[in-house]
Amino acid sequence: MSEKAKVAFYWCASCGGCEEAVVDLAEKILEVSAAVEIVLWPVALDFKRKDIEAIPDGGIVATFLNGAIRSTEQEEMAHLLRRKSKVMVALGSCSQLGGIPGLANLWDRSAILEAVYKGSPSTVNPEGTTPQTAYKDNGRTPTLPMLYNTVRTLDQVVDVDYYIPGCAPAAKLVLDAVETLLSGNLPPKGTVLAPDRALCDECPRRDTRPDKLELAEFKRPHQIIADPEKCLLAQGLLCLGPATRGGCGGLCTKGNMPCTGCYGPTSRVRDYGGKALTALASIIEAKDDTDIEKVLAGIPDPVGTFYRYSLPASLLKRKTLEA
């Protein structure tokens, strides 16, 4: 056992889909578990923080951490695991880019508590109670951890060596990553362990996109019956495949739905949203201001569309709020 390479899995603000991706290795999971010693996996195994601390710094070959950083606890665990691990791998969109929980960066903590505990129509809360980090209940003080105002990516908190993109990551990417790390010949630091070409390269519909595609209007998925063969962008749907890293094999487009960009940008791009935006805006037909505005009405939610998975990783990182 102790001969085996130590590997750790941990989660922060995430949905657990990344773990499911690992479970989806199905039979292969037995091979993996045979090859490594998993020293930490809260979702699956018991562990003691003491045990992790007992491991000498760098004693863990690789930690796969999924989820964004949202609370004091998550940040502390990230630091501990970074210290103990030779290699830190950000697993999945939330950890790499902030993910959908990163949309919280359009507000601050108080706005979210307000919506959940006071704004909800089914909530009966006349006293306006909200959860307290330290609640005094005659002598007893049950506590809750503290949520940050801003969701951060893992590499905004600790040094990250590699990334596995996707919401959820393709099981195969996880498997390949594990094998790569065990193989010993590591790729350059900062590498995203997935193809570095945009999704179109893998999309069966690519050849149906006209060489010179210009759009008169954008369509929302519920407004048309999409042709199952033709390029979705050519049908006016907001497909972000051209701006999004491949690696999933085009699962969504095979499901006849446009790519929403969960694999994030390629290595050459600094701001995913900026490039996704240019991919669409550049091919609009309209020339005059009002016509252009009309076409753009077909993109009712730019930030939610272009930064759905990457707001915390974007150049602006979060919405600027009124002082």
Binding site: G16, A44, V124
Partner: protein, 501 residues
């Protein structure tokens, strides 16, 4: 949620409160060393209700599925149904059938996951067996490698089918107002037909296994019917027009602790019947029956506390929609002394019966010739305003409720998930167990194990509960004396193992 585990196990003792990350219990003792109060807490929140604001409604099925990676399909489908309501559009027959087929496939898969990977091991391998064996590999060892491979393979096949229809098994993309994004081809249908058949056999095999290992073991049965794990509360679940269990659609039915129908209402009237209560010591809100009101954490007919999930669904229904499941249903109530069954641990059995039901439904739908009709979607024409979608998630009733502007952008979203309906009852189970067994001088593993088992049976999805964290959370229990000093702590992890300090 839980996944594969390795033979290595460690004792987890963790005195550091920052690691209370995933759900915890604070037990406070009085001067006499008796339990004064036990808090069952959920310590995180992501606030999807807020993220939803400003997003296009049609993106909700994909955005809300990120609430939970274990049951994304449940959120996806609830959101999709909410869109039907929002745009006042009914899917064409094939569209509806594809949704149901996909959903029942998911139900079977998820229930199997819980039984074999999460809750099951305790029973199959045995509660007192070494923790190292209380996991899926232990199950494999117990039932034999062949059967074990069958278990893992069965789940993979179902996931593959879900990918085939839904694009992705984790965070699917098939749901749109008025139907689904993609039709089913003859070849697809053929695959479904094949796997559906196998699934029914597999579910029967599983029920038989449960019968062999659990029901034939009087210790287990006594445990199940013991008072500790019994709460006389209301139950809620969705039933079809003949009051049979239906996961995808129907009316919501509430029965009293005596099993009498108390309420029956269309899903979109939930606001008149269900309300949420806020406690300052947990991020999770606690549901109760609005007409009765919040009377605190107490059971009985006068309390608004109720529960959902497999046991509740069986309790509120007059039967199962499929023959084999119906037979199992009858055996269930015959064995446990008639309806309603108040024994929390009976949830495991109820779950098996539902899994069989889902597999049978799959088979029916897979054989339906209409399934391959290319017309799978009706384009909406109405101006959106408000939409409510309700579905029976594996862990119970799931409610999505959206209000939008005329462009279909979300103004307000309200989400009530299975575990919230159960939250109050769970807190009671935990406190009851704690009060019943824990004292200053008597904090044994066994005792804490009892506490923990009361909790686990619900297969709670606290991730859903706070729209924050995944799967069924590890649980952290801490016992503090009158001065607030920690006298003992204990962790309960997803696989169900309990460790104490």
């Amino acid at each position: 949620m839980s996944v594969e585990t390795t033979p290595t196990r460690r004792v987890t003792i963790d005195p550091i409160t920052r690691l209370e990350g995933h759900g915890k219990i604070d037990i406070f003792l009085d001067d006499a060393g008796q339990v004064e109060r036990a808090y069952f807490q959920v310590p995180e929140l992501r606030g999807f209700e807020k993220f939803a604001e400003g997003r296009p409604a049609e993106d909700m099925p994909q955005i809300t599925s990120r609430i939970c990676g274990v049951c994304p399909s449940a959120h996806h489908m609830a959101a999709t149904k909410a869109l039907d309501d929002l745009y006042q559009v009914e899917p064409p027959p094939a569209g509806k059938k594809i949704r149901e087929l996909f959903y029942n496939t998911f139900m079977a898969e998820d229930h199997a996951l819980h039984f074999y990977f999460l809750g099951g091991p305790d029973f199959v391998v045995g509660p007192n067996a070494p923790a190292a064996e209380r996991n899926v590999l232990g199950v494999v060892a117990k039932v034999g490698l062949e059967a074990g491979k069958k278990v893992i393979g069965f789940r993979r096949k179902l996931r593959d089918l879900m990918t085939l229809v839904g694009g992705k098994a984790i965070h699917p993309v098939l749901g749109l107002p008025g139907g689904v994004a993609k039709r089913i081809t003859k070849d697809d249908q053929e695959q479904f037909r094949r796997v559906a058949g196998e699934s029914v056999d597999f579910c029967l095999f599983t029920l038989d296994l449960f019968d062999q290992v659990v029901l034939k073991n009087s210790d287990y049965v006594n445990l199940i019917v013991s008072d500790t794990y019994t709460h006389r509360t209301h139950y809620m679940g969705t039933v079809d027009e003949r009051n049979r269990v239906n996961f995808y659609d129907g009316k919501l039915r509430v029965v009293s602790p005596e099993g009498k129908e108390l309420m029956k209402f269309p899903q979109n009237q939930y606001l008149d019947y269900v309300a949420e209560h806020v406690e300052p010591w947990s991020y999770m809100k606690f549901c109760y029956l609005k007409p009765i009101g919040w009377k605190g954490f107490v059971d009985g007919a006068d309390s608004g506390v109720y529960s959902v999930a497999p046991l509740a669904r069986l309790n509120v229904s007059d039967g199962m929609p499929t023959p084999l499941a119906q037979a199992a249903y009858e055996q269930f109530f015959a064995t446990l002394g008639g309806k309603p069954v108040h024994h929390t641990l009976a949830l495991h059995w109820a779950r098996m019966i539902e899994m069989l039901c889902a597999a049978e439904r799959m088979k029916e739908l897979a054989e339906d010739p209409e399934l391959t009709d290319p017309n799978v979607r009706k384009l909406p024409t109405a101006t959106p305003k408000e939409g409510i979608g309700v579905i029976e998630a594996p862990r119970g009733t799931l409610i999505h409720h959206y209000q939008t502007d005329e462009k279909g952008l979300i103004r307000k979203a309200n989400l009530i998930v299975a575990t919230q309906h159960n939250a109050a009852r769970m807190a009671m189970s935990v406190e009851k167990a704690a009060k019943g067994f824990v004292t200053r001088d008597k904090i044994s593993d066994g005792v804490l194990n009892m506490v923990e088992m009361a909790f686990r049976a619900y297969d709670p999805c606290l991730g859903c509960a706070t729209h924050s964290l995944p799967g069924s959370m590890p649980l952290f229990v801490r016992v503090r004396d009158a001065n607030g000093a920690t006298t003992a702590t204990l962790r309960r992890d997803n696989d169900g193992s309990v460790r104490r300090d």
